[in-house]
Structures are given as C-alpha cells and as structure tokens.
Symmetry: C2
Subunit: 204 residues, 2 copies
C-alpha cells in the first residue's frame, strides 16, 4: 500500500498518565507506528532521557524553533514549553507510516486545525478525584501547582468534544488495547481506503 | 450505563458473504448485540429457517407491512423484497443493547438517512473477479441473473462512500474480528460517551 501514514494524537489532562500509556504502547506495539518525540523546556524527571522521552531544550532554543516555523504545535503549560517538531512527522507520514504524538491538550487543538484526518484520542481519568490523587502522589509539585493543574484538567475535559475518541485510563494495559483497537479500526475507514478500492474497480 | 444501544449496519454487494460473516459474528460475539432478523419474499435456500435466518413472507404480507409503516427499510432486489421490521430494532436500542442489521445496500442507505448515529460497515470482496467466482459457485442462479448481480455490485461499490468502514471479506474469521474492533472502537467515540463524562464532571 502506498497510502499516507495516519497521524494518531494521544492527549488528555495533566496527570492522567499519557506518558505511561504512550510508553506501554511503544513497548507493545512499537513496530506498528513511529513515536514522535516531543520537545520541552521543562526539567527531566528522574529516569527521563534526552532524545528518548523528550528533546530537552532551553527556552531560547525552543523559541528559535518556533520562529523558524519548525513546530507542528506548541504550547506553554505550567510555565514550560511543550511541542512537536514538524519535520519528523511529515517525513514519516509521507513514507506511509503511522505517527503517534503524545501531547498536551492545547497543542492537540493546533494539530486538529492543521491535520483534519488525524485520529484524536482523549485519555480520561476514571474520575477527577483519582486525578487529584495521582498528581499528589507524584509528589514533585507544590499545592499551588496542583490546584492550577486541577482547574486546567476541568477545562480540558470540557475540550473532549474536540476529540474523536475518549479512552479511560483505568488500567494502562486496557487503555493501550483500546487505543490499538481504535487505530486498527480507523485504518478501515472508507475515507482512508477509498482510493485503493477505486483503483481495484478500475482494473476490472 | 443507561446509554442507548448502537445500530450496526452490515451491508455490501450481493455474493460478498454478508450472511456468512453475520452468522459467524452471532456465533462468536452473539451475547454482545442483538441480531435483527430481516424479512424477505425470496425462497429459503437449503438449510435456511424461517424466524432464524429470515422471516419468509409472501409479497402480499410484505406489502401490508410496508403500508402499515412497519419497516425501518426495505428494497426490492433481484425481484424480491428484503427489509427490516422497525419495532424490534427500536425496542432493543431503547433497552441499551446494540442491534446488528445485515441488509442490502439500498436498504442500508434508507437506514443511513434515518439513523445518523448508526455504524455503517461495507463488506467488500477481495476483488470483483472473486465475487464473480463466488456467485457462479453458489450455482443457484442462471447467467442472466449473475450478469445483473455483477453490474449491481459495481454500482454498489461506488456507494461505499456512504459508509463509515470498509471491511474486506478475505477470510470470514478476519472479517469478523475487524468488525468487532470497529464496534468496540465506536463505543469509545466522544459523541457516544460525552453525556457520561459530563455527568462525571458535574459530580465534582
């Protein structure tokens, strides 16, 4: 098949476990798509590796990329930049490979406006109380930050209407399998395969 | 969940194997949906049972149902009526259960116009030559009928644009699994689950 790859956007509120789900997806189904590594100005958390989890950059470096038109999307979130370098995404899609983005909600909305045939998946917490617990347990933020994140999460869940799918992150394994079903199913959408069928008809 | 059930419409060209795929779905996943038995005026094929495979009715009986507004959809196809009784479908959806229809293409388009949130799946032959082989092998129709069916099939494949998904019936087991993925994935669509999430937000 010479079809263009599919852009899969995994997003959701802060603390919902996007990074964990993405890591599990890469571990289990990593041969089926390419993960686009995000760029950020935030500090690495313990165990995070530059060029694997994120491209860790200074604010100055990040703003230079923005100025050069090199970002598919970017946003500031809790005082730091997060974004997706454009070049890798475009090259990979052109090669016919699916690309996975794991990005913040504001960035996802920018991608939605640019890539109308992307698949937009919103990862949801089982409920907001559990979200609060998770953020507290992570223990790397002060209370003011946590309160700000909770308010942001409420606003973000209201943004769910801008997504195609909502996947509950009740268990990472289950969330990953649901996302895999969505990806497989999206590849069967008429809008994605019509060209192939029309050329089949032409052969007759 | 008190959500309304989802209407799943399986259709495709004559001879593509809709009936076989539907039977395999019922056998493997029958507890997950209710199959809506179609009504037809055609003669039963060997092994087909009234009230199981179809409701077999006379033309007169069928036309009385139409006149009474009792059909969700109906069409004449190769000289016979095929259609879906309305009452069972509505009752089952209201109970929160998914309903599977396996119907002809003309009927599916009528359902599309009435049930905008249905899931419309087009079963496709691996290619039109294999479709021709299958029709010939079935051996119950004369050549004029086969030619008419082939022409109809070409027209129907052009109708694929009116469907949500295209599933190749290369192997029945694979087709069934693809359809199951589609159903699971459609249940995660934001448009279907938004009410649940909004009530969750309200609780906080």
């Amino acid at each position: 098949m010479s079809e263009k790859g599919m852009l899969i956007v995994l997003s959701g509120p802060s603390g919902v476990g996007k990074g964990t789900v993405r890591q599990a997806m890469v571990a289990k189904y990593g041969q089926q798509f390419k993960y686009s590594i995000s760029m950020t100005t935030r500090q690495p958390r313990p165990g995070e590796v530059d060029g694997v989890d994120y491209y860790f950059r200074t604010r100055n470096e990040f703003e230079t990329e923005i100025a050069n038109g090199g970002m598919l999307e970017y946003a500031q979130y809790v005082g730091n930049y997060y974004g997706t370098p454009l070049r890798y995404v475009n090259q990979t899609l052109e090669q016919g490979q699916d690309v996975l983005l794991e990005i913040e909600v504001k960035g996802a909305m920018q991608v939605r406006s640019k890539v109308s045939d992307g698949v937009f998946i919103f990862l949801t917490p089982p409920d907001l109380h559990i979200l609060q617990e998770r953020i507290v347990k992570r223990g790397t933020d002060d209370m003011a930050t946590i309160k700000r994140r909770m308010q942001t999460a409420r606003e973000e869940i209201n943004l769910m209407t801008n997504y195609d799918y909502a996947v509950v992150n009740d268990q990472v394994e289950l969330a990953v399998d649901r996302i895999e079903q969505i990806i497989a199913s999206e590849h069967l959408r008429v809008a994605r395969v019509l060209d192939t069928y029309q050329s089949m008809l032409g052969e007759d």
